[in-house]
């Protein structure tokens, strides 16, 4: 089994309110079969036993699906491999003696929590603004009463694969959340179930995105390049079309409401 060593420059920051800095560590005896996070586990074990403070990074599933993990490795979100979260990145992708720079996602909307962990709750608020179908429990019709053409179901699923990790925002020079919101708008917009709220959804989500302090999309395409789920920027174009249509078609609020 191949083992090798690396030099890590890691962003250390105690909390959002304190300044941070890079600190250099050695990672000796790295095995090519380790995942990147397992390599950090070993570095942390050493730190703990030698009186240091372990490096904090978010992680949970370690299978590339929960979206917890993510930081910049040498300026690239989730590191060098395409369509791979940092928990799924294996050390066989690195060479002996390499020097790596690990930094948290940098975005006004994602304040640092500690070291490599950031606060991504803005994403939750964007979903809360409209990233859903209003379908109260118990009100559903039979599953096969809603037919969904397979190509639409597949496109919806491609978009729904988003894990909400934030790599798109971190790699965008403008800190835009366009790919994230477009993925949800695309997922629900391709399905018949998503049609009744389609206009409201795009208006409300885009408004929330702005409120959260995410930047504007200028189509640099950086987001698509780093997305671990390979979500395509064509969804952003689709979202922009939806937004335009919805803005023009915006209906006046009904003047009578109530449950009758």
């Amino acid at each position: 089994m191949r083992t090798f060593s690396l030099t890590l420059n890691v962003w250390r920051q105690k909390s959002a309110s304190e300044p941070g800095k890079f600190v250099t560590y050695k990672a000796p005896n790295v095995s090519e079969h380790m995942s990147f996070l397992e390599m950090l586990d070993v570095v942390n074990d050493d730190l703990i036993l030698t009186g240091g403070e372990p490096i904090v990074f978010d992680h949970d599933c370690r299978e590339g699906i929960c979206g917890s993990c993510g930081f910049m490795i040498n300026g690239i979100a989730h590191g060098p491999n395409r369509a791979t979260t940092v928990c799924q990145l294996h050390m066989r992708s690195f060479k002996d003696g390499e020097e790596l720079w690990l930094e948290p996602w940098r975005s006004a909307a994602f304040p640092v929590v500690k070291d490599l962990a950031v606060d991504r709750s803005a994403f939750d608020r964007v979903i809360a603004a409209g990233g859903f179908v209003t379908a109260p429990t118990g009100s559903a019709v039979d599953g096969n009463a809603i037919l969904v053409p397979k190509p639409d179901a597949d496109l919806a699923m491609d978009a729904a694969a988003c894990i909400g990790c934030g790599a798109c925002v971190a790699s965008c020079p403008n800190g835009s959340a366009a790919l994230f919101s477009a993925a949800k708008i695309g997922h629900l917009g391709f399905l018949p179930q998503g049609q009744p709220e389609r206009d409201n959804r795009v208006l409300a989500m885009v408004e929330q995105v702005t409120l959260e302090g995410f930047g504007h999309c200028t189509s640099t395409g950086e987001c698509e390049a780093v997305c671990p789920k390979g979500i395509q920027i064509s969804y952003i174009a689709r979202m922009n079309r939806d937004y335009l249509k919805a803005s023009i078609a915006k209906r006046p609020e009904a003047s009578v409401g109530g449950s009758g």
Partner: protein, 655 residues
Amino acid sequence: MPLDFPTPSSSSTGSSTSGTLDARIPDGPIEKKWDTRRFEMKVVNPANKRKYSVIVVGSGLAGASAAASMAELGYDVHCFCFQDSPRRAHSIAAQGGINAAKNYQNDGDSVWRLFYDTVKGGDYRAREANVYRLAQISVNIIDQCVAQGVPFAREYGGTLSNRSFGGAQVSRTFYARGQTGQQLLLGAYQALERQIGAGKVKMYPRTEMLDLVVVDGRARGIITRNLVTGKTEAHAADAVVLGTGGYGNVFHLSTNAKGSNATASWRAHKRGAYFANPCFTQIHPTCIPVAGDYQSKLTLMSESLRNDGRIWVPSKKGDPRSPSQIPESERDYYLERRYPAFGNLVPRDVASRAAKLVCDEGRGVGPGGRGVYLDFADSIGRLGENVIRERYGNLFDMYARITGENPYKVPMRIYPAIHYTMGGLWVDYDLMSTIPGMFVMGEANFSDHGANRLGASALMQGLADGYFILPYTIGNYLAQSKGPKIEASHSAFQDALKGVKLATAKFVSSRGKRTVDSFHRELGKIVWEKCGMARSRTGLEEALARIPELREEFNSNVMIPGSGEEMNRELEKAGRVADFFELAELMCFDALQRNESCGGHFREEFQTPEGEALRDDEAFCYAAAWEYKGQNERQTLHREALSFDNVHLTQRSYK
């Protein structure tokens, strides 16, 4: 952490026995029980619901679906999770699918067949009435999820598609590529976020429950720690619901997410909730084998792969040839050989044990001989690589990323790993624990899967509990509980708060020589070897001697850096591992008292001449529910007798 169990030398079963438990199952024929209960139930007037506050701990399928549904009904809901967002709960990782008795394939499925398969699959150790209700509700779950926009796989005509899973001969599993859990959870999460946005649910992410507060015999709140600031807080409510997941991480290496833990359940157990069937744990047959000491978790390859993959090992011991060099005649497709009717689709416990057996015989493959082949060559030949890519592409990619091998060309190597825990907090038919006012849902409870869970049934159960059972049964409880309003300033809360702070202070003053993980790893190894795929009296007794020693060392020699007033991951892990130590012991006691083999609990002393699990229905047809009796006291065993009036007790056969 003080000792909670006597040393095992004092008794070989560690139990004293008490009376029986009543699950409060409604009378009448099984088809009518749920209707009967729903009709009997008291309901809270819609205008009054907002006056009742409910704490939901957990935002997985069970927690998120319950929190959203109760908020829709009008309750004042407070929901907690330890991840940074409710969308990241461990349910997100489920791959294969969710069962429902829709019979869309016209292959003879029915509520009765799903019920029957689940009871049989659970090796006759589940509660019939609950399982029947689960099968009934399964069809509503699919409808609900479709309505939310879950992008299930579809046929060209636009109808929902199905696949087959282990332990069933019909095709009833609904799926969204290999990301079914993700899509179902996002559906529930979006429903939850809608309620958060509407101000009906208050969400507390990055917050861990560390104690349950019981006032006058009723659950009235929880104590939490904010994982960012370290602040401990008390939260009062009219009822508490746990959907905190399973305890598979007792084994250290498992397919569960790294954060999955038993702390909420265990602390509630210490406050009076009985813990049922802790030794019923599930080993999943198809996981990527262990590669090295640093390994932090095991990765599941969905069971759905067994639809198209064939499992084999070389016929000869220690065959050094690469798989492609081994001719058909020298391969042993051992599942197809031993179980011609179900073949590669036998239930998980059977498939796992069979893999262990061939590896024990020296016929295992890969490093250390702990692996078997899962081979897609035939399917690729028959269907083409594209069809296989369409069905399992993301799983194949995941395998390639982790192992560096291409499974389209070389057979996968797989080995069993701990995956799911059937045991959990005991609940009655209404999902209420032995503490009035505390309800338990999803993997955290014990009720529906007996001694073995069938694939694609956990997602079904979590959502059945959260969408369609708890929202009704909790109303029945609240409508009848006329307790006074209690504030978090009540002395019971203040005492619990003090206890939590004390435990934290003790941990952060630990400056020993070993990391929390090193203890967790060692504990996991003991439990895996002695209380894993096969158990024996001697092995369990060894474990019961070893675990307390290791725990003593943990208490005196663990190293926890930092303080309690900040984000401190080592501190979080230490609390969880302390609970795993205690739970591991209870698992071994439970395995020791159950002198039979059933489902995932395989006692080597109790097997048929063909090596199959040998149940003892005379003596053990019960759920074992353990009552905590205090530090250093022996836990008391209570039995809930199980009766099988609808599915007759027979030896399971998948031949």
